[in-house]
């Protein structure tokens, strides 16, 4: 299969020539349609990876390509979601979800004329994540888990080819987190979207991803790549199987080593 994202031997340094080196010699490839997870000790440059792929940062050395084009400016075929849902409190949930359409070049001109069509699309997305009928509510009337669901809708509304998730479930309780894992799993399955998930949670990574990249401590690079063999669709029950726990255990070992090396 073709690669949607390639990062080749990339260095990224913040704050001028003697600033901190966030990633060094970073190389990784994500295939189209794949679900990739990036795990690593804290401060390993996972967020830098996000910003490199979305074109918010341009590396000093090396090449980042998305959809066979070298990244030199922000890439609008990407949707992003962070741990903090950052819904705008003065807009209803539905209007929050439509926000990217007011910005993306392809849609902004069409939005006013074809609003009904876009609203229908947003409502369908809301239904997919289990928020049917909540579009008219304001975000602060929703619980944390519901806001994060809405956040996912906002990341998906412009039908991105690539979804970048930066610890989107980090602030949620474990039951809500499991529910949202299933939401993401189903979205990935139905929409054939490529997903890169940055996370601290190894169980989350193993449950969701096809391939897991382990990053070293700062300056970050990939020290291990691991394919997850479980067939899809996966059920939450697999998390209680021995094979699953073995993978989690091994990954934990790698990260512990990476931390020690720092």
């Amino acid at each position: 299969m073709k690669n949607l994202v390639t990062i080749d031997n990339v260095d990224m340094r913040y704050g001028g020539a003697d600033g901190t080196l966030a990633v060094e010699g970073l190389t990784l490839h994500v295939e189209k349609g794949e679900f990739a997870a990036v795990v690593g000790p804290s401060g390993c440059g996972k967020s830098t990876l996000m910003k490199l792929v979305t074109g918010l940062h341009i590396p000093q050395k090396g090449v980042v390509t998305v959809a066979e084009e070298r990244v030199t400016k922000p890439v609008s075929i990407v949707g992003m979601a962070f741990q903090n849902p950052t819904m705008l409190p003065w807009r209803t949930t539905l209007d929050n979800i439509l926000l990217p359409l007011e910005v993306v070049e392809k849609h902004r001109g069409r939005l006013r004329m074809n609003r009904a069509e876009y609203v229908a699309k947003a409502e369908k997305l809301l239904e997919t994540v289990g928020l049917k009928g909540f579009g008219s509510k304001f975000p602060w009337q929703l619980s944390g888990g519901m806001q994060q669901r809405a956040n996912l809708c906002r990341a998906l509304i412009h039908e991105p080819d690539l979804l970048m998730l930066d610890e989107p479930f980090g602030a949620l309780d474990s039951f809500t987190r499991e529910e949202l894992w299933c939401v993401i799993r189903d979205l990935h399955f139905e929409r054939k979207v490529t997903i890169v998930l940055v996370t601290h949670d190894l169980r989350e990574a193993v449950f969701l991803a096809d391939r897991i990249f382990v990053m070293s401590s700062r300056p970050g690079r990939i020290i291990e790549e691991r394919t997850v063999p479980f067939a899809r669709p996966r059920d939450l029950e697999i998390m209680y199987q021995k094979e699953f726990n073995d993978i989690v255990h091994e990954l934990r070992g790698s990260i512990a080593d990476a931390r020690k090396a720092a």
């Binding site: 705008l88 409190p89 003065w90 910005v103 304001f138």
Partner: protein, 258 residues
């Protein structure tokens, strides 16, 4: 909360205000304070009735200079606040200047304004403007400067320009700060206009009170004070109302729109 205690909370501001006047009246009578020290409220109200035409005319003049100065401050403060919040460069260039300017007591500027514009309405308007301008600028700029970086990243990754981010996120986000600052600014605007009227004017409540003082007409001085308080409270209430109307979403804790 029980209905009775809710009623008490509603009644409390009225009870306290009435209580203050009652204590004032009793104190003035019991201690036999002369009118030129502290006139009793009834005496002050008599003065308001007696001098009503003059009080009304001067109150309108003060209200006029204050609101005009305030309106200029709103327009200028909003504009400069957006400019300062927009760019780090403009911020670092202008901020020290604004701080220095704000540090000057505005009463010290009145003589200069008089040299430039003569005695009358204009110095009062300008003093009100100068004194109420700064809190608006600072608040608008703060609102713009505190956009969540994640929000900016989400939009920039989609190809948003600075203008998009300002219009969709920055300006709506700074509106609660802006409307909040209006309450402070209108109160300060009264300070400015009355200062200028006291120093350099032929009309207005400040001028009237100064004239009354020189004639030892202390009840009229207090009448002026009461009128200033009434005008200040009314304008403050208007600003608070506007704030609730425009940015109810920011006051959701009090169940405003929820």
């Amino acid at each position: 909360m029980s209905a009775a205690s809710k009623n008490w909370i509603k009644a409390a501001p009225w009870l306290c205000t009435i209580g203050l006047f009652v204590i004032w009246e009793l104190a003035a009578r019991l201690f036999g304070l002369p009118q030129y020290i502290l006139p009793a409220p009834t005496v002050v109200f008599n003065a308001i009735v007696q001098y009503w035409p003059a009080i009304w005319k001067n109150s309108l003049q003060t209200l006029y200079t204050t609101t005009l100065g305030f309106a200029l401050a709103v327009a200028g403060g909003l504009g400069l606040g957006i400019l300062v919040g927009w760019s780090r460069l403009i911020y670092s260039g202008l901020y020290p200047l604004m701080v220095g300017f704000n540090a000057i007591p505005k009463v010290a500027l009145v003589p200069i304004l008089v040299i430039w514009f003569g005695i009358g309405t204009i110095p009062a308007v300008l003093t009100a403007f100068l004194i109420s301008f700064f809190p608006i600028v600072v608040n608008v700029a703060t609102g713009l400067a505190t956009i969540e970086p994640e929000m900016e990243d989400v939009l920039r990754a989609l190809g948003a320009r600075k203008m998009d981010i300002m219009l969709k996120v920055g300006i709506p986000r700074s509106m609660p700060y802006f409307f909040g600052s209006l309450k402070i600014a209108i109160t300060l605007a009264f300070v400015g206009s009355v200062i200028a009227e006291t120093v350099a004017a032929n009309s207005g409540l400040g001028h009237m009170m100064l004239a009354a003082q020189s004639q030892f007409n202390v009840p009229l001085v207090f009448a002026g004070l009461i009128m200033l308080a009434v005008e200040g409270i009314i304008m403050y209430a208007v600003m608070a109302w506007v704030e609730m109307r425009m940015t109810g979403w920011a006051h959701r804790g009090q169940g405003a729109t929820a």
